[in-house]
């Protein structure tokens, strides 16, 4: 096995379902030991990409290798080295948590004693020891996800795929999942996770690929992506909603760019180039116009704004 090479490589993957193009020349390289986020809206091709990389779906064309093994020709080798957490908790509802983990361990050809020992370890790691003897149908959503993740880690796979791992979880469950992913990454597991939530990618991933229309349209660290739309942003929160149009006009004049207005937050937001000059000038202009500002602040753009910016550009080009 190639230990120094990238954990995941995809080259020009293509997949269509009838008239729908799911992947349209998908390229990806994930270095071993890193957390990589695949970010995109519904239908961008995230799940198709993960299904191909985990040997569940055959691509129409293109190649993909996991830890050096080809997903089509060496599927069994790949399966020994990956864990997959899909959008549903793919565990047996009738079996207990412990029975699930032993079953999946045995199906990966662990001996009975090893499978049982490994199950106990994982139950303890994911705080499921107490519930281990109860059927999974009595578990909460968060517990199911933890069991699902545990079931994906039985062979301590070097590469873990998480397909929208926090969909449908409450904030507490989501934080638990994030902590688990961070611990795995710290221990050296390569993680590829898909998400529609920008803060999730920002929180977990060292590197992000933005996916739209089955292709990667932007790539980089979260900071790089934020820098891609160039500027910091200047936010003005007005005291009175009625002042919003006037404030937007002032902001536009100062920044030389169209401002975005968010009425429910009483906020006007605009990208600026020269941070301090813009700030000073804006405060003065607002004062001249007689608009009472509650807050004026400079900030880095959020990934939401990055994403809208990138996909909008895609539509125009």
């Amino acid at each position: 096995m190639n230990r120094t090479g990238p954990a995941v490589v995809a080259e020009d993957l293509r997949k269509r379902y009838g008239d729908t193009v799911a992947l349209d020349g998908f390229d990806l390289t994930v270095p071993a030991g890193t957390v990589h986020g695949l970010l995109g809206p519904n239908g961008a091709g995230k799940t198709t990409a993960v299904r191909i990389l985990t040997t569940l779906t055959r691509p129409d064309s293109g190649t993909a290798r996991i830890a050096g093994y080809d997903v089509r020709r060496q599927a069994m080798e790949v399966r020994y080295r990956i864990g997959l957490v899909g959008q549903h908790a793919a565990v047996d509802e009738i079996l207990t948590g412990r029975q699930n983990l032993v079953l999946f361990g045995r199906l990966q050809h662990l001996g009975a004693a090893t499978a049982e020992r490994r199950a106990e370890e994982l139950l303890a790691t994911f705080r499921l020891t107490e519930a281990a003897g109860r059927p999974v149908k009595e578990y909460s959503g968060g517990m199911r996800r933890r069991l699902d993740l545990a079931a994906s880690l039985i062979l301590a796979p070097p590469v873990l795929f998480l397909d929208e791992p926090t969909t449908g979880l409450d904030p507490r469950g989501r934080n638990e999942m994030w902590d688990a992913v961070r611990e795995l990454a710290d221990a050296g597991t390569t993680v590829l996770l898909t998400t529609q939530y920008l803060d999730e990618a920002d929180q977990l991933a060292e590197h992000i690929s933005v996916l739209d229309g089955g292709r990667v349209i932007a790539d980089g660290t979260p900071d790089e992506l934020k820098r891609r739309i160039g500027a910091d942003r200047l936010d003005v929160v007005v005291h009175d909603t009625a002042d919003l149009p006037a404030a937007a006009e002032v902001v536009r004049a100062v920044a030389g760019a169209d401002a975005e207005t968010e009425p429910d937050r009483r906020r006007v937001s605009v990208p600026v180039r020269d941070r301090m000059a813009a700030l000073t000038e804006l405060v003065r202009a607002l004062d001249d116009a007689g608009i009472a500002a509650e807050d004026v602040a400079l900030r880095r753009p959020t990934l939401d704004e990055v994403f809208l910016h990138l996909t909008k550009k895609e539509v125009h080009s």
Binding site: L56, Q87, V91, L95, T96, R117
Partner: protein, 274 residues
Amino acid sequence: MSTPTFVVPGTPRERLRWAVADGWMMTRRDLMHWANQPGLVVAGLLFPVMVMLMFGYLFGGAMSAPGGNYREFLVPGVLALSMVFGIEATFTAISTDVARGVTDRFRSLPMASSAVVVGRSAADLLNAVLTLAALVAAGLAIGWRWHGGLAAAFAAFGLLLLLRLAMLWMGIYLGLVLRSAESVMALQILVWPLGFLSNAFVPPGTMPGWLGTAVEWNPLSATVAATRELFGNPAWAGESWPAQYPLLTALLWPALFIAVFAPLSIRRYRRLSR
């Protein structure tokens, strides 16, 4: 944990060992289901017994069977019908796994791809044997006997299990196609008329001519007629081909179902990777 050794089987012998080991694990999964839900297993066994008692005693008094004893006539009918009912269990198990993503988990594991089907077949056939045992015990209790010797009786049970195997493949196929466990309702609506449009409860000779002929061609009727013959239980004489050759028909119908639905199921299973 100690690093496990990744052995991907290369020779046919090693592949067979994987297939057997993984198929057995999948069978054990179902046995664990039974152990976790003993109430459901018992209810599943009691239901056909209840049907037998209901027809034997509530309707039986008003029924006249060829050769006299209606309960002797009825038992082979319920035995075969219970094999047809089995399709619901197969269907539910397969479609639930597909819908919950459990099938995908199995497919992402380094295991023999035949294990899902092998485990399903072994567990369902084992359940069918238990069902037949419960029905035979209840049948003996209400006065049913076989008169044709032990070998003939075993041949009859063989035909019944063959019918269950045919239903198994059909259930696997439908489970993969419909992918929703709720569709079992639709299946029940189809299974019941199939049960009544047969010779299980009444002789086709008492029905309007065209309907009687259709009923004689029902695959279920073939197995019922054949088992009646093998058990030496009262039967009726029919004019149609299947009524003339019940044993042959009881082999041909299930064989045809398996020949159609086994390849279709395997194709459908492979298409999950599309």
